[in-house]
């Protein structure tokens, strides 16, 4: 049996059949693996949140450190407490921020704020954990898409991230975040850490990301801080 494999009819039928077969195969693969991939992506986020709190994700479960996940509006009021909605918002953090939906993880002692910004070559993101005073940094996790290995990409190393805990984000009533200072941080300044040598643009990106993202949550922080001061004032009165 010999077809003329170069006739137009044959070519068209051949392409159609081939494309249909390939499409079915790929759809089946995508459907079959989707649950696993989604679980991986979700697990990755939870791991980073636990890491940001300074705990070891290998031994500490997400559920044991995070009390609830919420979405805030621009005034700091809670608009949703649905966990699935919060993680969905994380998938498009840029869009969520633009739509004034701010996901926040309330830990047993403090909060974890997701971050999103621009590095030198592409997006950078991460999570920063604050203590219950909404001021002291408990820990941070930073990641990037394509910063230069050995330079800008150093923001993703534990060595860089170890400099943040203990720093504070409030200067008076303003949220200033943490600045990555070129040439080395002033040790007495509570808002500065060392910038990455040779990674100035990425460092500036992290600085800008921290200032921008933390300010989105300022109304919530302010309210929490005011509540804490009141409690303190009350307990002082009682003591007197």
């Amino acid at each position: 049996m010999k077809f003329n494999t170069n006739s137009n009819t044959y070519i068209i039928i051949y392409s159609v059949v081939m494309v249909v077969i390939v499409a079915v195969l790929l759809s089946l693969a995508a459907l079959g693996l989707k649950d696993r991939q989604d679980a991986n992506a979700l697990n990755e986020k939870k791991t980073q949140i636990v890491k940001a709190l300074g705990e070891d994700p290998a031994t500490v479960a997400y559920d044991s450190v995070i009390a609830k996940a919420v979405i805030l509006d621009a005034s700091g009021a809670v608009v949703s407490e649905d966990v699935n909605e919060v993680f969905a918002a994380l998938n498009d953090l840029k869009g969520s921020f633009a739509a004034e939906r701010f996901p926040l993880f309330v830990a047993n002692n403090g909060v974890v704020v997701p971050l999103y910004g621009a590095g030198l070559w592409g997006p950078i993101w991460g999570y920063i954990a604050l203590d219950a005073d909404m001021n002291t940094v408990k820990g941070i996790v930073l990641d990037h898409q394509g910063e230069t290995p050995g330079l800008g990409a150093e923001i993703a190393t534990p060595k860089h991230q170890a400099m943040y805990p203990g720093k504070t984000i409030y200067e008076g009533d303003a949220v200033v975040g943490v600045t990555l200072k070129k040439g080395g941080a002033d040790k007495s300044n509570a808002h500065e850490v060392d910038a990455i040598t040779g990674g100035t643009k990425t460092s500036d990106g992290v600085t800008a990301m921290l200032a921008t993202c933390l300010n989105y949550y300022k109304p919530y922080f302010d309210a929490a801080r005011a509540a804490a001061t009141e409690v303190e004032a009350e307990s002082n009165t009682v003591n007197e």
Partner: protein
């Protein structure tokens, strides 16, 4: 296994190596060789794709209309690459994140289509499959050699484990510092050059007269 089939497998490892003899697939050899682990996964992924695209195209070789054979090859290769990408995302998520776009770019790796066009369309499925495995291994082995030097000299680690002791570093009062140049793509090209040099010194028949 007949010795002729075996030659399809072993040829590309040295004498007919796709990277250092045919100078194909250089682009990804520069991109994913900063560390060993991604280099190995990349090598394995390319091997799977070359092996199966060769196998599939060899099975189809008598029915493929020669006027659209390049498109057919591209569809087969692209489908296989997407499958590999999906599997990596599902089972080795962290590595797949590290490789990011480069898995998708296997589609454009000249080795894959080069072997389909040059070998699979003229040869039987089993030989083509072995040829694919051989070329994938040949590519992967060069990647691993490059990544070994780049990770060791550039970061002082292998597979992420520290090889060069912390105490040697200048920051810790030692005398050593990593070679930052190793982390950049040009250094991969220089290492490829050194490998080609060494390889040709041992294989005199490859030297141009």
């Amino acid at each position: 296994m007949a010795s002729k089939s075996l030659k399809n497998l072993t040829g590309p490892l040295s004498g007919n190596n796709p990277v250092i003899v045919q100078i194909l697939g250089i682009c990804s050899a520069l991109a994913v060789t900063v560390q060993l682990k991604p280099a190995i996964v990349m090598g394995l992924s390319v091997m799977v794709v070359t092996a199966f695209s060769n196998l599939v195209m060899s099975l189809l070789r008598n029915g493929v209309p020669s006027r659209i054979r390049i498109i057919v090859q591209l569809v087969v290769i692209a489908a296989l690459v997407i499958l590999v990408d999906q599997v990596l995302k599902a089972f080795v998520y962290d590595v797949s994140k590290q490789l990011s776009v480069y898995v998708g770019l296997i589609i454009t790796n000249c080795i894959v289509m080069g072997r389909v066009e040059a070998f699979a369309l003229q040869n039987k499925p089993w030989d083509s499959f072995l040829d694919g495995i051989g070329n994938g291994l040949g590519y992967g082995s060069i990647l691993v050699i490059i990544a070994f030097f780049r990770e060791l000299l550039g970061s002082g680690t292998l597979f992420g484990f520290r090889i060069i002791p912390e105490s040697w570093y200048i920051a810790e009062g030692g005398f050593y510092s990593n070679c930052g140049l190793m982390l950049f793509p040009p250094m991969a090209l220089i290492i490829v050059g050194c490998i080609i040099w060494a390889h040709r010194s041992f294989n005199k028949d490859l030297q141009e007269k």
